[in-house]
């Protein structure tokens, strides 16, 4: 279980903001700013946070869909940003992604047979009849009928399209799948179907998931470990049970107390955060959470940036006051 499959070291991804006639760089959006974590083979790491916290950028940079500004992503001890040619293609096969929006992530002009077979053919796994046979098997595996393989994406509902997206990712026998808000656009009854399917597939194929979501309840359900992000940083990372029973960072606590729980008789203490998430262009000094933090200490929190430190075995928190 504890074989490290992916190692992220001090990862940074800044996006330039250009302005003026010469499109000069006037500022940087620090979407991901010094993030480090490991993932073990066969586990699910949940990456949770609100919009703009950098969770999607982390996922895209791991897959090298974005080039990192600084830091390393090591996959099986190889730095993926240095891979070229054949090695790069092999790495792309091993790491796949499932996107949030099943409406815009499937090419509307392609039959789903061709959408799913594209990777199989590109990676020389199979072709012709054999590839079609694989598509049929994949469709069955994700709960669709092989008779539907000649249809176009618009003929399917949102949940079915997400199944097609999963079949497409599975087609090339990946080891790791980044699920970027994979169930966020779905209705509750369909969301449960897809979550169960993802869990079954993980068992059958020994898959590793990075599960990116803003929905804390979904992340709690599917993850083994969870990392909470805020403004480009990981503020807390721990085993799921530990994190949800003993959250230590004030942001994690506030986030958990903000989720409405479907039980009208459950009375909870709610921590209401003031204001909005600040802009990642000019993040606050010191701890990035200090302007909204209910327990911030003006002597230290606005001045010094806290380190992510291990306060208990395998429970890391980035806060001066924990």
């Amino acid at each position: 279980m504890n074989e490290i499959i992916l190692e992220v070291k001090n990862l940074k991804k800044y996006f330039p903001i250009r302005a003026g006639v010469f499109r000069r760089i006037v500022a940087w959006v620090k979407a991901v700013d010094d993030v480090s974590f490991n993932i073990n083979r066969g586990e699910t790491l949940g990456l949770v946070g609100e919009s703009g916290c950098g969770k999607t950028t982390v996922g895209m940079t791991i897959l090298r869909l974005y080039e990192p500004t600084a830091g390393q992503v090591l996959y099986g001890n190889k730095d993926i940003s240095k891979l070229r040619g054949k090695e790069l293609r092999e790495m792309r096969r091993k790491m796949q992604i499932i996107f949030q929006d099943p409406y815009s992530s499937l090419n509307p002009r392609m039959r789903i047979k061709n959408i799913i077979a594209e990777g199989i053919i590109t990676h020389d796994i199979a072709k012709g009849r054999e590839a079609e046979h694989m598509v049929a098997e994949l469709l069955k595996r994700v709960g669709l009928s092989p008779d539907q393989m000649n249809r176009f994406p618009h003929e399917f509902s949102g949940g079915q399209r997400q199944r097609i997206g999963i079949a497409r990712a599975l087609a090339v026998n990946p080891e790791l799948i980044v699920c970027d808000e994979a169930v966020s656009a779905l209705d509750v009854s369909i969301q449960a179907q897809i979550l169960n399917l993802l869990e079954d597939l993980q068992k059958d194929f020994n898959l590793t998931y990075i599960f990116i979501s803003h929905a804390l309840n979904v992340v709690k359900h599917i993850s083994d470990r969870v990392a909470v992000m805020y403004l480009g940083k990981i503020v807390e990372i721990a085993d799921k049970k530990e994190l949800f029973s003993n959250p230590l960072h004030p942001y994690t606590k506030a986030l958990m107390s903000a989720i409405p729980i479907p039980d009208p008789e459950l009375k909870r203490e709610r921590i209401l955060l003031k204001g909005d998430v600040p802009s990642p262009i000019n993040p606050p000094s010191g701890c990035r959470f200090h302007p909204r933090c209910p327990i911030a200490d003006p002597k230290i929190c606005s001045r010094e940036e806290p380190e992510l430190r291990e306060v208990k075995p395998d429970h890391f928190v980035s806060c001066h006051l924990v």
Binding site: E50, S51, S157, G159, Q160, D187, V188, S189, I190, Q191, A192, Q193, L195, N196, E199, H214, A215, L216, N217, V218, K220, H221, I222, F244, A254, L255, M256, S257, A258, I259, P260, I261, P262, D263, P264, E265, L266, R270, L272, L273, D276, V277
Partner: protein
């Protein structure tokens, strides 16, 4: 609460859309009441008709949509029969509405202040300066910092949460008796959602207003509602007070939905999933609309549509097989906290 006169009473509402492909029975015989000062939650998945119900109340349907049957009685008047001028006096004045996406609902070329003042000047017949004062006051009430400055800003200058606050300020500026909130927090981050829900509860108390909260999120429903209507495929399947709904759901759809949500407060091994997909509105199934996905369905469910029946005081359910669900309930625990 039951002894009071309802503020709004919807009787057998049917709203159909006449499209080129056929008739879409978006809302097909819905009944409910809203009492003064209470919150009625309407919950359901996409396409169940919850939004069309709310748009029907304000008669904001597009030209293809028609209320083909039923009454919407608001303070003794049937809104279905009201002429357009009378309806305009009610919209934004007695009944106001807030929408899911404030960036789409707000006009991008007018300042926030202008848009709030428009309703105040129209309904309260006050002068511009006075209206501006009221607008600034409302912005302050909804927790927008520096309202004197914000009143002259355009919607794009505000964050998502601030825009939703501005829209609430606009809706409440004429002190409506009923506020219809259609997924008001769905587009917002959870910490901002918590702020907005808290604000709505506070304002409801201060202004003694009734709210219809339309959402797909059962957590939000549990938090804010007094009574709840669960909708599926244009029909109401269960209707009762919030505590009973969550503790003792009687309709198989409600029960399955409650078990399908991943929960923060409970450990779940595997989620309960409802098989199949929400039926297409052009081809709703015969009999009970849920029978194609219901594990308890019988021949009767396929052929005969169940009516909404009061099975105990104030608990309405539309199902032929309530006993079967009761027998199956111990398989999965609902609402148990660990």
């Amino acid at each position: 609460m039951e002894s009071k006169q309802p503020l709004l009473k919807v009787n057998n509402l049917k709203t159909y859309f006449f499209t080129d492909d056929g008739v879409v029975k978006a809302v097909d015989g819905v009944n409910f009441e809203v009492y003064p000062g209470e919150t009625l939650g309407i919950v359901g998945e996409s396409g169940c008709g919850k939004s069309v119900t709310s748009l029907s109340i304000l008669r904001l349907l597009d030209e293809k949509g028609k209320i083909v049957d039923g009454e919407i009685i608001f303070e003794g008047k049937d809104l279905v029969k009201l002429d357009e001028n009378k309806m305009r006096e009610i919209r934004g004045n007695d009944i106001a509405m807030i929408f899911q996406e404030p960036m789409v609902a707000l006009n991008p070329v007018y300042t926030v202040g202008d848009q709030i003042m428009e309703a105040i000047i129209l309904h309260q017949k006050v002068h511009k300066d006075e209206a501006r004062k009221i607008a600034i006051d409302m912005l302050r009430k909804v927790g927008i910092p520096e309202p004197e400055k914000r009143v002259d800003e355009y919607p794009h200058e505000l964050s998502g949460g601030m825009r939703q606050r501005a829209m609430i300020a606009m809706a409440l500026s004429c002190h409506p008796k009923l506020l219809i909130a259609d997924e008001p927090t769905t587009a917002l981050d959870v910490t901002i959602q918590a702020q907005i829900l808290e604000l709505m509860k506070q304002l409801q108390k201060d202004l003694d207003m009734a709210i219809i909260m339309i959402t797909h999120d059962l957590g939000v429903i549990a938090e804010i509602s007094d009574r709840v209507a669960v909708m599926y495929a244009g029909k109401m399947v269960e209707y009762t007070d919030v505590k009973r709904l969550f503790k003792n759901p009687k309709h198989p759809y409600t029960w399955a939905l409650l078990n399908a949500i991943p929960r923060l407060d409970i450990e779940q091994e595997r989620l309960f999933s409802i098989p199949g997909v929400v039926p297409d509105a052009l081809h709703f199934p015969s009999g009970c609309k849920f029978h194609t996905r219901c594990e308890f369905a019988t021949e009767k469910c396929r052929n005969e549509e169940p009516g909404l029946i009061e099975i105990e005081d104030g608990h309405f359910v539309a199902c032929w097989n309530i006993e079967k669900l009761e027998a199956a309930k111990d398989r999965v625990e609902v609402g148990e906290n660990k």
